[in-house]
Symmetry: none
Subunit: 225 residues, 2 copies
């Protein structure tokens, strides 16, 4: 799967690239609208991630140009928090979805997958570890056949853990992937959410699927604890 990222803030570009590559996408980055336009003509991408504010050609135009020449590659627009983007305008120019900065990897990847699913149906992702079941698409979580209600954050943390089941993931990795990459609060928050998850998905079932590896991080037992 090839993704083109057009984004001038290097930091965001690098972060997005990292996140997507970790997911197994092949990523090209363009730092200006002009480069982006050129790359999009040269290559066939499966998705284009497009910032609005760009040197050279801006995101709206670039997207409009694509559609103009009959290129219907799914486009995901990125936009700063306030104003800047008029949702209507984005969708008018032919974008398929948009995302407000700052956002977390988990959300970004989810949106991209959603776009891909539209163009290439099939393969809906669900994760399992033992009798633990997590479906990001429908936002469902179950242990055996007991439904478990999770808040958005709790869900993201669990999703990240289960995607890496059996591996140790450090608190920092969790923080970087689940929170905005701009997040600079107390890393203790990860511990707090681990606790919430344990209370919801482990303790009632007398399980211990979330293990602490002191000095290294946490690990979700691949077999469900």
């Amino acid at each position: 799967m090839r993704v083109l990222v057009v984004e001038d803030e290097k930091r965001v570009a690098a972060a997005v690239r990292r996140g997507l590559e970790a997911e197994g996408f092949a990523v090209d980055v363009a730092l200006t609208g002009t480069d982006g336009e050129w790359l999009s003509k040269e290559n066939a991408y499966d998705v284009i991630v497009l910032d609005i504010m760009l040197p050279g050609i801006n995101g709206y135009r670039l997207c409009a140009n694509l559609r103009e020449r009959g290129d219907w590659t799914p486009v995901l627009m990125l936009t700063a928090k306030d104003g800047e983007l008029d949702e209507a305008e984005a969708l008018d120019t032919g974008a398929d979805d948009y995302l407000t900065k700052p956002f977390s990897f988990v959300v970004l990847v989810a949106r991209i997958r959603a776009l891909l699913r539209r163009s290439t149906p099939s393969q809906q992702l669900v994760y399992e570890a033992g009798d633990l079941y997590v479906n990001p698409t429908s936002h469902e979580c179950r242990r055996g056949d007991v439904d478990i209600a999770l808040t958005a954050r709790e869900f993201s943390v669990l999703e990240f853990l289960i995607r890496h089941k059996g591996e140790v993931v450090s608190k920092l990795e969790i923080l970087e992937n689940v929170w905005d990459f701009a997040f600079d609060g107390d890393p203790n928050i990860v511990e707090v959410y681990i606790r919430h998850l344990r209370v919801k998905i482990d303790e009632p079932f007398h399980k211990a699927s979330i293990q602490t590896i002191r000095g290294a991080g946490y690990r979700l037992a691949a077999s469900g604890g």
Copy 2:
């Protein structure tokens, strides 16, 4: 795998080179930012390790220049303990990760591997020596099919030994690789940890996989003792 190390403190540069070569990387070292820039243009590296404070072009600039010309080789930034690096700034210029001095080889190598894994997913490393099994990714250790719980330090020491199974490794090497560069405590600590490991991975199984080579160091039997 080719690594470029740009670092002006000769001592650190030499240490890093040694450590990485021992890991099987091909290492080029540049002592100034200018040299580093030139080398990075001439050759295709898999990772670049970049100090911030450099004569000639500094680390930030060098990294920014790379990205500017569309080179997205993973960059790991090195930084002195306090101030100097603003994490945000490092990531702004397009670095993929950063590491605060002093750091240990094991950590450095782990970070580099993590970066490589992002660009080339899959291949998770596990080590074996006879019936002894060590998996750094999941932080698991097993003798036969008995799980063994190790602390972070113990694990690092064992990881180092098993990566060099069959070879004699000196106490100093262990110290330099597992502890921080700057560690200046009692070298006896290595003996202490060897003891801990023997108690956990050998004695219960009536094995003697960690052998003492008097006057030279230790050796983990390649056949598992």
